[in-house]
Symmetry: C2
Subunit: 173 residues, 2 copies
């Protein structure tokens, strides 16, 4: 989460200067007001985001993206397997056997092992890399993900509260 | 992933009928061509998305959104804990103690238990529900997530291939 708090532009010699000596005080205050008005016009609204601790140098978005990478790799493996199933049974069984004994939890470790397994699996690994890139960029419906997430959080909140109210008020469902 | 393949509109009595008896063959073919042209004008472009098996009645987007819900709940707990830390130490320690003995892997089970734990924790649970909803809808940077995912998949693919080439060609890094 990058939070862009932009401070009002302050000219080195403009803000913070006070009229030296016998300058008219009235004029100073007027100029100061004008400067403040100018600054508030230049400065964007203050960042009103919640502070999320615990992500060190990363961000919640980076953490979520990292987790999605593993998921996209899993999807790519499923896509390639289903493609192979219909026209190359031998390769299909070889990849299926590899998947059955290798964890898909870490996408990079999985692909690293797959590339080094056999010449045929190296070719399939290249295809998985291609498929996951194409899937992320063209097929995955990002807008749908956002829409579903909005709906899910509302539904889950309503359900939790309704269940609790039903429980404590002893109303039969 | 919802794939909207719309079949050409076929009037019950139009497509599939053949001229019975001695109708002019030439006229039949011309009418058939016209029908086909009409159908291709009505039907949208074919769905060119990859077939992703294994999600049953759901979709990869729904699966990803479900996983993100648990993550957003985790973020909301962190946010509330960090807010409490500065102004209500008692509630902070109570929530922290609860978090230490309850898994955050399943957001709904966590919240369900939290609501029923004690009156104070019930209040905090309500706040967590509110925070996670606000976070999903306002604070979380969805565009950033997409951008990061695009970059990550490219970077990971390049790294995997480069590492492999370096390894097999025995080039010193």
């Amino acid at each position: 989460m990058e939070c862009s708090v932009v401070l009002p532009l302050q000219g080195a010699g403009v803000v913070g200067t006070r009229p030296r000596g016998g300058g008219p005080v009235q004029a100073f205050w007027r100029a100061d007001r004008r400067r403040r008005r100018l600054a508030s016009a230049v400065a964007p609204a203050r960042c009103s985001k919640m502070y999320v601790p615990g992500f060190g140098e990363g961000s919640p978005e980076r953490k979520a993206a990292t987790n999605l990478q593993h998921f996209f790799n899993y999807v790519a493996v499923r896509v390639v397997l289903s493609q192979l199933e219909s026209y190359n049974r031998e390769a299909y069984y070889e990849l299926k056997e590899f998947v059955s004994r290798t964890s898909l939890n870490d996408a990079e470790i999985f692909c690293k092992k797959l590339i080094r397994e056999s010449p045929r699996l190296k070719g399939l690994a290249m295809r998985i890399l291609e498929v996951r890139s194409a899937y992320v960029k063209s097929d995955f419906e990002w807008d749908n993900l956002k829409k579903l997430s909005f709906k899910m959080v509302d539904d889950a909140n309503t359900k939790l509260m309704r269940d609790y109210v039903l429980e404590v008020s002893h109303i039969e469902d």
